[in-house]
Symmetry: C2
Subunit: 464 residues, 2 copies
């Protein structure tokens, strides 16, 4: 096992030159959503491939129907060393409205923020060029000090993350054998707070359904027909209202199949994070948790499934009033799933729930939108506890295991297409203004982030 401390010392000593490399990458205007910048996207991919090549990776720029992928392989210290896939993206968001930027978004620099902290400014500094370079720099330090990496490493950097990743799934499918590793490291997320590193151990799945209810064969005058004719808005409202009981629990039969109770020690750990209904909901102008009674807001969004109504429309919705009974009404409904909930079963259970509430003279139509299961890493997985220890040593504060209420498609794709779990660790901060003007990345994140990944790679290697 190669020693870690000289690697960390090398990172410290080379911080300035690593910063210069990041600046080079940040200067490339790799805005993926705007075709005018296709050349810049290719340039960023080529820059990365060249840089990885300089560390000894077998790095290639791979064409896709959209922007290219960068794929780079490096052997481990031994044939049986663990194999890690590292994922990041080199494309960035557009910079509009440009007039709100204090500095040129593509002229990165180290500046001081109002609190006197050193920050790297520029588009992509946090999302995701700054974060992906942490891996590259950690590998560079290992190579410089030991001439080898602690694990076998494959890097996959895409250039379409900010524009829906249209080429990613086909690429994973076509190159599954080449990309499959023991697990993936994904660095596109936040720290819990400025002092506390975090590991995301769960992501909720998602099932979307559009429901369209049809009643009369035309819009009706509510005076002539009101009370005698079926009103699809009323039918829809009654169905949606029946989805939750008074305690906030979803009533659809079988909905909770596969949902596990979160271990009490995990709940206790979440408790210590100090997130309250007030602190969670206050910033958005709310105060009363709307989920299942008796559970904390963190448990609600990280570990409990939900049914949400994302849109509803029916009848006259313009200015003023029209005494009409609509012929149809529709709603977009989504379910966030946890643990072992089966997206297909949830979809069918919901459809059955709706169908049995449709009057005999009305009809219903469903349009599916997406369906992905939840991701749940095992709380007692050794590689989580190793990463947790490594992070805790670096930051001097115990790394927390958090969940995410949302879905990160790449994690689901890695699981589904490559049969691979992902460890999500990131050093972005909630004030990094990603996707907004004046994006920044703390120098502290950039520095300790490199050291964190060096520690994690070192720890994971010891696991083999």
């Amino acid at each position: 096992m190669p020693a870690l401390s000289p690697v960390l010392a090398h990172i410290d000593a080379q911080l300035d030159t690593s910063l210069q490399r990041l600046f080079e990458l940040l200067r490339i205007r790799s805005i993926s959503t705007d075709p005018a910048y296709a050349g810049d996207c290719r340039k960023a991919a080529e820059w990365l491939a060249a840089d990885l090549g300089s560390i000894g990776f077998d790095a290639t720029v791979r064409a896709t129907p959209g922007h290219p992928m960068v794929v780079a392989h490096h052997a481990g210290p031994a044939a049986d060393a663990p194999h890690v896939l590292i994922y990041g993206h080199y494309d960035v968001q557009p910079v509009d409205p440009i007039e709100l930027w204090t500095n040129d978004p593509f002229d990165p620099a180290l500046r001081e923020d109002r609190e006197g902290r050193k920050v790297i400014t520029g588009r992509g500094s946090s999302d995701d060029k700054g974060q992906l370079m942490l891996f590259v720099e950690a590998c560079r330090a290992f190579k410089a000090v030991h001439g080898a990496l602690p694990c076998r490493i494959t890097m996959l950097f895409e250039g379409e993350e900010e524009s829906g990743s249209p080429s990613l799934k086909p690429f994973l499918d076509a190159n599954a054998a080449e990309l499959r590793a023991d697990f993936a490291l994904v660095c596109d997320s936040d720290m819990w707070d400025r002092e506390t590193p975090s590991i995301c151990t769960s992501l909720r799945g998602l099932v979307g359904e559009e429901v369209r209810i049809r009643a009369a064969d035309r819009d009706l005058h509510s005076g002539m027909y009101g009370s005698a004719a079926a009103n699809p808005v009323r039918i829809l409202a009654r169905i949606l209202a029946a989805v939750h009981d008074d305690s906030g629990r979803v009533t659809i039969p079988g909905f909770y199949d596969g949902v596990e109770e979160t271990p009490s020690q995990v709940l206790q750990a979440w408790q210590t994070l100090g997130q309250t209904a007030e602190s969670f909901l206050g910033p958005i102008g709310l105060s009363v948790p709307a989920g299942e009674a008796g559970r904390s807001v963190l448990e609600m969004v990280w570990a409990r499934p939900t049914a949400e109504f994302n849109g509803i429309i029916g009848g006259y919705t313009g200015a003023g009033f029209k005494t009409v009974i609509a012929s149809e009404a529709s709603a977009k409904v989504s379910f966030r799933l946890v643990h072992q909930q089966d997206p297909a079963a949830i979809r069918e259970a919901f459809r059955a729930f709706v169908r049995e509430r449709i009057p005999a003279d009305c009809s219903v139509e469903f349009h599916p939108h997406g369906g992905s299961p939840a991701i749940q890493l095992s709380y007692d997985s050794p590689f989580i506890s190793q990463a947790q220890d490594a992070l805790s040593e670096e930051w001097g504060k115990r790394a927390v295991l958090v969940g995410s209420g949302g879905s990160i498609p790449i994690v689901g794709d890695f699981q589904k297409l490559l049969g691979m779990e992902s460890l999500l660790v990131g050093f972005a901060l909630s004030d990094d203004r990603i996707h907004s003007p004046n994006e920044k990345y703390d120098l502290n994140s950039f520095h300790k982030g490199q050291r964190s990944w060096a520690r994690i790679l070192h720890a994971l290697a010891g696991r083999a």
Copy 2:
């Protein structure tokens, strides 16, 4: 009491000349909604005033901010004769799409329909020039035969009925003393069927409310906040769903205050009309009555109040899917009222019902739209039974007392502004295609309609 039969004989003998007079009026393009026809509207008003003047009415064309009113007075046979206000409108709907007319809409003629029935074709033949001329011709016949009218009569013909009657209320207000009569006769409605005359004895009132629920101070990502944050679409759906119980009854406290049970003989009479759920709902593609269980469809729409949801909107309603939790959702809700239900009390009861279902961290806003009480003539009013007898004699079939699920604003205005009840009798048929191309009025309606009003005026005079 002047004899009726020579009056009826005179009507029969003069049918052709009365038809020519109607044709003259029908040729005037009095489309009120299109300013290009303002001169035609005035011409129609002047034509009517001149014709009424020729029968001995004191007839004037009265300016309004819009199209003029025609007001005409004729004394009764004695100072204590009943005073009747007769209402109609001389304006007509536009004729688009003109290419769907078989004949020129403003070149009226007597034609045969496919079943061999004689019909008067042209815009306004049924709505409402044909119907208002019935009164004029009935009066003309009385004058020709007896030199006098059986009652004191005031005629009020407006020219803005098809464009929202903006000048009517101010005109009634400003001329209340002149226009107030013992009751009004309104001829702008249908027969029950081709053989059966009807009298409308009730109109439902209307209360409209727009409800807007606000939750978070911005739209939220349903992954990050779903289940913890209040969802206004869910809150709104639960409120609307609570408005009706499973039997279709409205649950708002106090909602049924002032609602009376319909007398069993009236329900029995309605039963004999042969209107079933199937015959009422079938033509609009429905079959299951949605109102209070155990009541007929006619009772539902004529004699029971209802809560209807006329529109709902919230969240993402475009194509595809967006996993958003909206910051607000809104619905347009209307109540049709019967009997003594108080619009203001209903509005307040609904608002209270909504408010107590709004979570502590959300807010609600209401926007009122209209509010008018129901109109309910007394089933044992002598003037109804006199009109019913008169109609039954003319048509050889018992005239039926019907209700209307909708509201006819003029009737509410007469009640509110002039303290006057209205008798609604009309001879239009459901196949008259009013507001559509190829509008027609059956010659039978035009002929027996004149005779019917002569009979009714005669019967009402006998009541004094």
